[in-house]
Symmetry: D2
Subunit: 377 residues, 4 copies
């Protein structure tokens, strides 16, 4: 309960500081018999790693994972899967000037207020590198969900004040997501946003972004009622990301000003309405009719339980707080100080955010899939 | 982990269906020695109860709580505090026509998809009455937080498409909140929204709303890093409410299109900037300087840990799905059916939502206060 | 975490003090669709209730349970099952002389050392009446296990220094267990022990006992490796009973002085060796051969996982600490005092212990059955 | 929940198989600011490591730990402490003949019954090497407990059928424990037991043992009532050790045949009775008088809560199941097979057991110390 474990049955504990020996995770509860390779994990870590030309930090960790336990002859054993990524490109000296000063927008002071002590090198545990353990664990969760045909896709839906049309919108292209450094599913907008971000970075500033996520083939029935609703779990997962400031599902904040007659999703029996939806991988109880839904304002979740429609949500991320512009702050003695942050920093987390959002969604869903096994006789 | 328990150290389990024998909660982990009366709980339940003239259901439960255990001679014992509210005004017959049909926007079908079975009377466990247990538990948490001088206030910040200015905005009046049935902190806007809601209700429709919450005197250092961040816990708490579709903290979704130089909250040493802030009820570690912050775009939380500024967040709620207008749906055999929902229903959850949001915030904060006791030697 | 919740997936929270309004439990995670009646619970509570002629307290609560939630039309809903037993025969005045004094062998002083405060009436939460909630929850667990053909039987295997032969031993009679107030499976020994206990009671003293338990038809594979082994969970369950002082499995303490060549249980392929064993209710993985075992020194558990043999363990209980003999103690001021405890007390917990042991075993096994559903793809 | 995590606030997750890349643990919830060195951990691992001349396996791992995270400038950060011990002396080939056969007394078959799959090399996760992670974590817990003056000492109290007098008994010598390979606190008996074990080993057999543990300076008030009693937690901890078959506290099984008048521990006010007891490190509530106790039949725990007396318990361990003698078993096809186990195996776990028991006791107590911080206002 000390905050570094996530999930109940598919259960992940992460560890590691930005400039310590390494970061990683222990996954407890992954079902036995799942085929798993090192490359499954390495591939997701590469997606999370900042690229060359984009608006990300130029720190180039190789981020090579090692599986320490839990896999034997290419399959999961049922025992804990420990994964380690060593820190190899540490330039702790970059942070010496930050030892006695609290960076605006960062967790430096709050961490000390909590623990009386912090690792000032690169933010320590509150660094964005902390997400390495999440992505490694999420990679395993994804492999598990693949056995149920569940597919999770996240993309940058807004960056530096430039919005991107959603799925079905003009120019939206699933295939484009992994083709540009910002993971924007629209080539022209991606180019436009990249240029704007370059300008922002050149001024020593940073920009916020939004990431949307869609989960296809989610079987109905996932999510525990009351406190552990599907959307409640996802909200916790996403707001646990350092820079997240908000989340909305389906119609989201717009629902607050809508009418019930417009927003209620209705079950419909008409077969063919959503022909792209395959049979659910977890069968319905025998006496419950399969249904489709006329709309998806709910974003795939009713009463906290998946309804068989695509799960849809969007997360808002604030700008990266490490900026080159001069800022006011105070030092450890409580005296006012000017601060110019040096070192390698992202101008926008968009490039890395989508894989991390996917990883967290995979962890939530894997856990709920296992919990669902106990729902009925 | 089956979803009806919330919190780790201040730990609440709720139970009960809308039309069963009763609803309630068991609170485990409330510190011993806390003065607690039945009226503390009854008062909060009355705030949650739909009033007479407003846009809420005309079902008039008295909702009298009984403390079954955990309190002796007016003080908490350290043992579980069980609270029961009996259902007394059940008109189950109102729901007979809903037995074999799935209401749009409700959890009827998803509940069956999960469990193969449901209590169709008033939504059963997925009824808004489920929040009774939360409010009773939240009342106890509030009493506990009062010992730390922590104050939680929620209000309706938008209803039926009408937005309300925030604290400090023109006409915002803390004292007005409990003076009108919508809990809108602005008399004229409240009147305007009430009239608009009456029109919506007259047409057999319903409307969404937003509820904002501000927590004062929150001591710095609350929130567990990584997965159990203060904002992550609050997000889970709020999205666990049946009709919630989104949450944002501080600048929220606007942060996604802002710049770091605008949004970074800076620590400042100037005493007097926030003279209204009292000394923190949980002392800072001896070597950490007290700070104030130049702005509060973060909404009181940095890196998932409270920074001593007021905690601020807003929750979006969809319209009540039970509407009088004719809707399309399917029945248990999967055949299309017309549906007109009868019975007593809210046109907007605004009147009840603020007390429930306060209760959930109190539960989150009480838990994190106790967890913080283990943070340092 | 605050100690009043047991189990992970089949999860029970109990509440209530001896002389408060009532005691009970909330069961979260019982699978939906299980047939459950009030009588299922009442019957187990009657077994736990002290009888008339035996060595138990003459306090005669009727202990009528009420199901507050979670059951609809005779079946479990998947939502929390809350059960309440009101205290009706409270004679709090019996305890007035104990308000300012600490009873030897009881938790009076330790409870105050922990909480600074206690309900002195009948031990409050540390009363034997606390087991009411356990037995009610165990009754539900038993019904669930019945669907898997799992059968749990406990009996008094020693009382007042008189030992009883085990299953297969001379005179052991399963049918006798419920026929005498001590639940001793041997008519003559039961009579002998009853007489000895009457003498002990007449002298104002009390006696210890041992309870053995055997679980038949336990499917192989139950128990989580490392910390949540089947035997570790059972040990926690049994030592959580107020008067328990020890537990042993299979050969138990005798194994500490034995040899591997004598004690190793060997798998054997000879069909027919244990013809009474039915097919396991949870099927073995397809590639794993069914086996029998040549002996059962392990008591049915190897490496913390059930092996298909009968689960066997014994719990040692100390004498009831409430005795009529004069004892030395101290009062709230720390001064020495003589104490003679009055009121209604058991001379030996044997009559009630077996149903409580069965209940706790049922809770452990129900939980592990559900956890096992997540073990494999 | 998947079995590899222990504790609530001082929370340990272990990982690793006997012949995989390595074993270790992640400790989440250790308070920040605790001085911790690599040598603190290495020293405990050396105590666990089988020595040269004794009755242990001749496999000589160096078992060098590495701290991967959570410690900065010699102090704990409050973030997870990950510790890794690489496997360096793996002779997996020793186990090739065990791939298709189930070893008697081992978890080979039960592991397959659970997961459908196992790592046959050295028992995989069910190897005694699994305790490495426990001992590493226990070393950190011990350092934490040292700040409270709490001292944990375990020793071999019986081995190969030879019993050892307890503390205060003739010849018992605390200083002898670490002086002989069996950790028997009595030089002559240790020599005698070693010789007997050599004979047993020479015959290809193995022997059981018992380990006793005493915890001094345990402050009163530790242990959560009802399910998480101090003794319940310790019972779970100890029975989670692979070869444990029983545990008893204080008078233990003897209490089952004793009388209340003999066994009740009475509080006494006479100062000076236990002059060796220092003031408790966690202060009593102001209104509760400090007491001493006339005896310690309870073993330091009343109602599941520590009473300030030394905590005393004994664990029974079965003989090591890997023996050289020919045994009967079955193979993966279910056919009968003779088996002679080769390789390096302990003849008795006595040499390693005491440090592991201490480690588990330290984990339990550290957790309960932190939980106690939430007990009172």
């Amino acid at each position: 309960m000390a905050g570094n474990t996530f999930g109940e049955l598919f259960r992940v504990t992460t560890f590691g500081e930005s400039h310590g020996a390494g970061l990683g995770c222990v996954i407890d509860g992954c079902p036995a018999g799942l085929p798993l390779t090192l490359e499954d994990i390495a591939a997701e870590l590469r997606r999370r790693r900042p690229g060359g030309g984009g608006p990300s930090t130029s720190r180039t960790e190789t981020d090579e994972p090692e599986i320490l336990s839990g896999v034997f002859e290419g399959k999961t054993l049922g025992s804990p899967i420990a994964i380690l990524v060593r820190n190899t490109n540490q330039r702790s000296g970059d942070y010496d000037n930050l030892k006695d000063v609290y960076r605006p927008g960062h967790a430096d002071w709050t961490w000390e207020a909590k623990y009386g002590f912090r690792d000032h090198r690169g933010g320590g545990r509150s660094s964005a590198r902390e997400t390495l353990g999440r992505v490694a664990a999420g990679a395993v969760a994804k492999i598990f969900l693949t056995t149920l045909n569940i597919e999770i896709r996240a993309w940058t839906s807004a960056a530096a004040g430039i919005a991107v049309p959603g799925p079905g919108g003009k120019g939206f292209d699933w295939n484009e997501i992994e083709q540009n450094p910002l993971r924007i599913p629209h080539r022209e907008i991606a180019q436009q946003a990249l240029e704007k971000l370059e300008g922002i970075r050149a001024e020593g500033d940073s920009a916020g972004c939004a990431v949307s996520c869609l989960v296809k083939n989610l079987p109905p029935g996932l999510g525990e009622p009351v406190f552990d609703k599907l959307d409640a779990r996802l909200a916790a997962a996403m707001l646990s990301l350092g820079a997240a400031k908000g989340i909305e599902f389906g119609a989201g904040f717009a629902a607050a000003s809508g009418l019930g007659s417009e927003l209620n999703d209705s079950p419909v029996s008409a077969p063919g309405l959503f022909p792209e939806l395959p049979p659910a991988s977890i069968p319905l109880p025998p006496n419950v009719p399969p249904v489709r839904w006329a709309h998806n304002n709910a974003g795939g979740v009713l009463g906290g339980i998946s309804n068989g429609m695509p799960l849809e949500f969007t997360v808002a991320f604030k700008p990266v707080p490490s900026i080159g512009k001069k800022q006011q702050t105070v030092n450890r003695q409580g005296d006012a100080r000017d601060l110019v942050i040096q070192g390698r920093h992202d101008a926008c987390i968009a490039p890395r955010a989508a894989p991390v959002v996917e990883a967290m969604a995979a962890l939530v869903i894997a856990d709920l899939v296992l919990l669902q096994r106990g729902a009925r006789l």
